[in-house]
Amino acid sequence: MGKAVGSEPLGRLYTGKKPRRRREWRGLKDTMYDYFRWLGYWKTLIGFTLSINNIKGFLRYRWMLNYLAMPDYMDRHTEGMRGVQLRMAHQGLGLIVTDICEMLKKIFRADPEVGNDKAFNSKIVLFDENMMSTLMGGFPNLIWLSVEVPAVYTCSMLNQTGVTYYVEKTQEYGVPSDVCPMPAAELGVTLADDFPLIGKCAVQCNTTCDGSLMGNGMEARSFKIPTFQLAVPIRHRQESVQEYAAKEVLNAIHFIEEQTGETFDWNAFFDSMKRFNAETREFLEWMDLSKTDYPQMMGVTLALYRYGVYQAAGGRNQAFLDMDRKLTKLAMKGWQEKQMAAKEYRHRCMTWGVQAAYYTALPIWLMNCWGIVPIADMLTTVSTEMVNTEDKDQALLDLAYLYENMIMRNRSNGGYETGVEALFSYCEQLRIDMVIMYVHMGCKAMAGYHGLFEEEARKRGIHWIWVTHNLMCPQDGSRRDMRMEINRYMRTVLREEPLDPSLEDFDDSENW
């Protein structure tokens, strides 16, 4: 037990029951830091409950229960960390926690069944879960919200069984169980009448996949507000689609203008995009560090934080840019001091495919148990192109390009070059020797490349580990099952011994 990374057997935190003991001894300084951050999360939670609206919302919506697991979620996502890694995780993910709380407050304030603030509600434009908020930078007087993010996506990450009830609702309705659980869960929330019905109008998008698109159509029926469907091209690497993509984005802007009476403010939009570009530059700094032997901003911290910046904040929130800069500073410090996130780095890996929402902490386990360093993941590798902040026509084209390259869809759509070739190009750039390939049972887009992936990996001598899961349904492939697949490969193919044997096999089926 001690200050050094990997000095404590972490398997002891898992008892087969709900965790009651999560504190690790990380040395005096890090333990105190971690503990005060943990107290801070409780403060955020308690502060949240001091509002009548929030209490009413908590009692009205079944999915709100999942938020009680938030402190545990932070513990899971900082497990074994020390120094810079610990600080980056707490600060980056902590900002997302605060942001989600703010979002929930706004939702409950507008919700006719809770706060019923009609004037406030009339300013809300509802976006679907996987859709970037970026274009709302041009509507500074309107409020961007997504009800699916707090009701479905974050719930599944906070509590592994957080949305299985809703997936089952959808299956009862008649949708087959082989579709992706995410749109299925969203539809389930609709069927269970568990979405706050807010907003002046809505914009949906053909975001991640065919299933997601279909779920949207059915949800739109229940929202009962004017809805615009933004059809972003699927073959988004083709030059011939860019003009259309820009026109569709412009159509979406016109729709919002018509519905709300607001006018798109180009100056505000350009300011927002300047922030977005600055955030992209920070991200590129992190990726540069990741090419070295001492990567810093990586794994789950990078993944979850990047979703928040790229998709939800979209340049509209200065707090994210400030945080980016803080993180860069921390990362530089860690790199200069050659700080490591595990006691030994044995492999550098990319995680590709869609990660299990119920096991976002797997990359941390990879490091702690096997010394596999998760340099980057598929969902993080989004567009790093700069958006023009002077020319309106070019800015529209650039904005459209962002929408074509939203998280997930930029890999699930666009064909072989985006799904397969891009991976191996990252492998070269980031000196990757292992790919943890998530087999998300409901994801048809990646499954279609199964054989081609193996052939390409074999050609390049990259270790390839398939890890099966079902995104939001742990009963179809538990966290333990996922670890088993990796353990088997490490033991039988690579004949390696774990860094922390206590983590090799444990039961966390009852954990949040």
Partner: protein
């Protein structure tokens, strides 16, 4: 009923992906274009000098290689087609022109391309982005895509004439086929139809995977023969149904449904005639490409069309067809693992039943249905429920 004179001929055509008529057309110097989806308008693939062959994998047994390359969680239709390609069954193709319409079929085509499963020297694959909404912006996009990813490559690789005149010619040929199919299909509206759903499906499916001109003669003779065909005095069915859903490229599925007592009087699926075998009406006021694209965009009934108006249109269209063809019930079927129809089927089951008042059977099925006892039992039960309803009403 007396057997149709050419039914066996058409059935034989459907037994192979590369059948006699394809070989005949190729021997005359025509190029064969592999087609995977309704959303590349057929006339553009049937310009003078080329013809389209819609992918099918008849008589599929094992699909292990297809499953290895695409995993067991993907549409069996796509896996079966890939398997056939790996076996060399699509070597005859000169190119494949595919829209990126559903991810699974796209992966199937990409596998064919990346594994070099078609080896002709000038072989190429072209992918087009096709609209997911039906409006003016989408139409403009559609036209551009068809020009750049269908017409241009055909001209560049094979010197195909892509002039307006050539397009009008192709539309006229397709219209001749469509008029015949519509004329034959209209008999299904009769109280005691002189053609079964299976027979009609054989004729209609053949038109999607054969050089059209070479089919005309036999189709005309069949249409002529049907004018005087006498149906059996006692109808051989117990209920009339409309069949909707994922693509059905095997008329054997319809035979299975009909053997269970449900006559398929209307076909709203890919490879069906409604609306795929309607006439394309061209005027001189606008270029033919735009008109063809507009027609296909308006016809499009695939659930991938995501705007609310199109979603509602799919339901009203089914309602109108059911009334026109006097269907008592609807069967929504879905190829297993198809995301689009997985949702659409579930939704239609509720909407068409609760809002339109139709009895609905919701069915998911494998690609190779064969003599599926499960499907038969479910259709039989549905037919019985329709009979009970009918008895209750009377």
């Amino acid at each position: 009923m007396k057997d149709l004179k050419h039914l066996y001929y058409f059935e034989k055509l459907l037994e192979e992906a590369n059948h006699d008529l394809i070989r005949e057309a190729q021997s005359r110097g025509q190029i064969a274009i592999g087609a995977v989806c309704f959303q590349i308008p057929e006339p553009l693939l049937n310009l003078p000098g080329c013809f389209s062959v819609r992918f099918r994998a008849p008589r599929t047994a094992s699909m292990e290689m297809g499953t290895y390359y695409m995993s067991s969680m993907l549409c069996e239709g796509c896996r079966a087609i890939l398997e056939r390609a790996i076996e060399g069954g699509f070597e005859f193709l000169d190119c494949i022109i595919a829209p990126d319409a559903c991810a699974q079929m796209n992966r199937c085509v990409e596998n064919i391309e990346r594994q070099n499963l078609c080896t002709k020297e000038k072989f190429f694959v072209s992918y087009a982005d096709v609209p997911m909404k039906a409006d003016d912006t989408a139409l403009e996009h559609y036209v551009r895509q068809m020009r750049e990813h269908v017409l241009k490559p055909l001209e560049e690789h094979y010197g195909i004439d892509i002039s307006d005149q050539a397009m009008r010619e192709a539309v006229e040929t397709q219209n001749r086929i469509s008029r015949l199919i519509s004329e034959i299909g209209a008999y299904r509206k009769e109280e005691n139809p002189r053609i079964t759903g299976y027979e009609f499906a054989v004729l209609c499916t053949a038109t999607y995977c054969s050089p059209k001109e070479l089919l005309l003669e036999k189709l005309e003779e069949t249409a002529e023969e049907l004018k005087t065909r006498e149906p059996d005095e006692k109808p051989g069915f117990r209920a009339r149904v409309l069949l909707a859903g994922s693509e059905i490229d095997d008329p054997g599925f319809i035979r299975l449904v009909e053997d269970a007592g449900a006559l398929v009087v209307a076909d709203r699926f890919c490879f069906g005639s409604l609306p795929g075998r309607s006439e394309i009406l061209l005027t001189e006021k606008e270029d033919p490409l735009t008109q063809i694209c507009r027609t296909y965009m308006e016809w499009g009934k695939c659930p991938r069309f995501m705007n609310t108006a199109k979603i509602q249109e799919r339901q009203t269209y089914i309602d109108a067809l059911a009334k026109e063809y006097h269907a008592e019930g609807l069967i929504y079927q879905q190829l297993k693992f198809c995301d689009y129809w997985g949702y659409e089927r579930a939704s239609a089951f509720h909407v068409m039943r609760e809002e339109y008042g139709y009895p609905v059977l919701s069915l998911d099925r494998p690609y190779v249905v064969g003599n599926s006892g499960q499907v038969r039992t479910r259709v039989q039960a549905f037919v019985e429920s329709l009979e009970i309803k009918r008895a209750g009403r009377s």
